[in-house]
Amino acid sequence: MRFKQAPVLVGMLVLALLLAACGGASPAAPTESPGQNTPQAQTGATQAPVAATGNTLQVVRDRGQLICGVNNQLPGFGSVDAQGNFNGFDIDFCKAIAAAVFGDATKVQYRPLSAQERFPAVQTREVDVLIRNTTWTVSRDTTVGLDFAPTTFYDGQGMMVRKADNISSLEDMDGASVCVQSGTTTELNLADSFRSRNLQLNAVVFETHDAAVAAYDEGRCDGFTTDKSGLVSTLVKLRNPADHVILDVTMSKEPLGPAVLQGDTQWKDIVTWVVFGLFNAEELGVTQANVESMLNSDDPNIRRLLGVEGELGQGLGLDNDFMVDVIKAVGNYGEIYDRNLGPNTPFNLPRGINAQWTDGGLIYGPPFR
């Protein structure tokens, strides 16, 4: 009677020990073959058929839909409109991948994920691709088990404060309360930035972006921090946008881009080259409007990009003219940017370092050949 529940506790302990045991074993495996890359060494050691990790394209085709992990709370990048449609910069890349795979940009199922849900969702294959303003970092690329496609948006973490507080830099914020979303690199950068400046920080951490913004708007915090792109779209949502100002500090590098599960090189290549294709399309002047006529172009670069020449799509397991479907659906990179973040949107975000390399930016698509 006294310890009726004891077996449960014992069970939990046993489970914990087993986990600890198999955790002890796995780091040992790569050290046996230090020359090899870890993922390959591990798939080799599992005896699991390679096909088990290399069939995402087939799974997506059989399902007839691409499942895309997205944000639904970040206007401009991923949000839901009054009719229940997803739209935004990240959403357009989901559409582009669906167009590449199916020739139809509507065959996407959007899975809104919180910052904390997103990695388990990729790890457990709940989503095929994660395009949810996710920062590319070494730990996510390795221990978290993701593979990153090229960066689609070069961002940096900023800080929003009230004009009335007369804050001009982070140094003025000693002892300030800062609202932040949990489970993000933002949270770590915030701690680092204050620590390196020897400032006292009161972080108020919320699970969702909306909750953090609401608390900031009510004055629970003196500052709100997230990527600058996020700050811009948040500012429009505040009660009195004119009362707030975004400080001229960048606390971090935040390269945002699509991520897939590590281990499926074909699927990663598809996502990678859809993004590069969109970069190239802008550079070569191929747009949603002129893509049909561009099929008759004499420029070999354009002919290869659109699959008129060469068998480049086949190498990815797609049709050779997959970029035609992609561009028809969403336009080129510049068009995606302008539609969601450009001058005709409430955000009016300048291209900055997200301009083409020919214009002094970082957007650079390797050649299609």
């Binding site: 599992t46 990695f119 730990s139 300030a176 949270e187 009510e218």
Partner: protein, 399 residues
């Protein structure tokens, strides 16, 4: 063993597969094996899945630097380890749960008794409270309290309350708090002494009451004696050193926040309030049921002896009702503790919130979740153990 009175031949003739006793044991062995296999299948499935997706397992990551901020609870820096962050979360969970249990019990008992009041207004208000709160999901109640009540409090610059003593804003409650002064060390022996005096007085009083065979309380005497020694010590310390052993640290605005004193955050308040209000509604129903379970004759007998209604409740009805109340009360305490994990919705750094951040930053989902489950399980088992002991002590009253 063969006490059935039948001949030994009879037993010998039954093959083992038709012997009920053998079959019963066999069935149990098979059942255990099946359950074991099921668990083994689930476990190996998880391990295989984790390996296939390259999800690392093991607990070695707990020694790594956490790097994320936690601004609630015991001392913690972002440079501390994940293990320390986990402990901070655990302590925060225990803090809000323990306080919540005490407050919910008090409020629940009051409302439960009020529901049986002969006063129409009191009865109706109590019953409306129970119906309203019991039928709202806790998460809705929590978010309502946080967004609708706490965040709507004045901003920190316009904090309301008594300047320098108690200041309420939407960042929480800042309070003046005693801190030790230079002469504190001189005072410590008196504090220890007061404890000794307290025990001595308690024992002496108890023996005296037993000797003269009269009812009476010993604890108030002991507490009074302790208080006397502590005050005397403070006065003498002040006379010797010229400084009072404690100084009052007052909250004052500095920079962006109030500094000094001690503070309870708005998130902590909201969670505590939500858990207390919610659980109290359930406890009230348990208390009401327990009181109704005491037979009517008890009350009538007590009243016939001339006890006032309050005395009847305190001395006759409630002690008997306790026996019915305690077992379901344990359930409510466990619920309250587990429900504290909803603090994540309003930004309270409880065990679950911190753990989610840990596994998001480290990528070790399964080990962290196992740790979280083990922690909640341990807390729950400990709570029910304490309640079971208390329950058994209460049952001794029964004849």
């Amino acid at each position: 063993m063969a006490s059935t009175g039948l001949s030994p031949e009879y037993h010998r003739r039954i093959p083992f597969y038709r012997n009920v006793k053998t079959l019963a044991i066999l069935a149990q062995v098979v059942f255990i094996l099946l359950v074991g296999l099921l668990f083994w299948y689930l476990y190996s499935n998880m391990v295989e899945g984790m390996r296939r997706s390259n999800i690392p397992s093991g607990f070695d990551f707990l020694d790594d630097t956490a790097g994320f901020p936690i601004s609630e609870g015991i001392a913690y820096e972002p440079t501390d380890t994940y293990a320390r962050a986990f402990v901070v979360g655990l302590v925060n969970t225990l803090r809000v749960s323990a306080l919540g249990i005490v407050l919910a019990t008090l409020l629940g008992i009051v409302i439960g008794i009020a529901r049986l009041s002969s006063n129409w207004l009191l009865r109706t208000v109590a019953s409306a409270y129970v119906q309203l709160i019991r039928n709202i999901p806790l998460i809705v109640l929590l978010i309502f309290i946080f967004v609708g009540v706490i965040l709507k409090l004045p901003r920190v610059r316009d904090a309301v309350g008594i300047e320098g003593v108690l200041l309420l804003s939407n960042r929480g409650l800042a309070m003046a708090w005693p801190r030790s002064s230079d002469s504190y060390n001189l005072w410590v022996p008196w504090l220890v002494g007061s404890l000794v005096v307290g025990v001595v007085v308690y024992e002496a009083r108890r023996r005296y009451l037993k000797r003269v065979d009269r009812p009476g309380a010993s604890l108030p005497w002991a507490l009074l004696a302790m208080f006397g020694v502590i005050v005397l010590g403070a006065v003498i310390t002040t006379l010797i050193s010229g400084r009072f052993p404690l100084v009052l640290d007052r909250p004052r605005p500095a920079g962006f926040n109030l500094v000094g004193g001690t503070a309870l955050t708005g998130e902590f308040f909201a969670l505590l309030m939500g858990l207390t209000l919610y659980t109290a509604a359930f406890i009230a129903e348990i208390v009401r049921g327990g009181i109704l379970a005491v037979s009517k004759g008890q009350r009538e007998a007590a009243r016939a002896l001339g006890l006032t209604p309050a005395q009847t409740m305190r001395l006759v009805i409630f002690p008997q009702a306790l026996r019915v109340i305690i077992p379901p009360m344990t359930n409510q305490y466990l619920n309250l503790t587990k429900n504290s994990s909803l603090g994540i919705a309003i930004g309270y750094f409880d065990l679950f919130n911190v753990s989610k951040t840990i596994f998001n930053q480290s990528g070790r989902t399964v080990p962290v979740i196992v740790l979280v489950m083990a922690s909640y399980l341990s807390i729950s088992l400990l709570t029910s153990l304490i309640m079971n002991i208390y329950n058994r002590r209460m049952r001794v009253v029964e004849r």
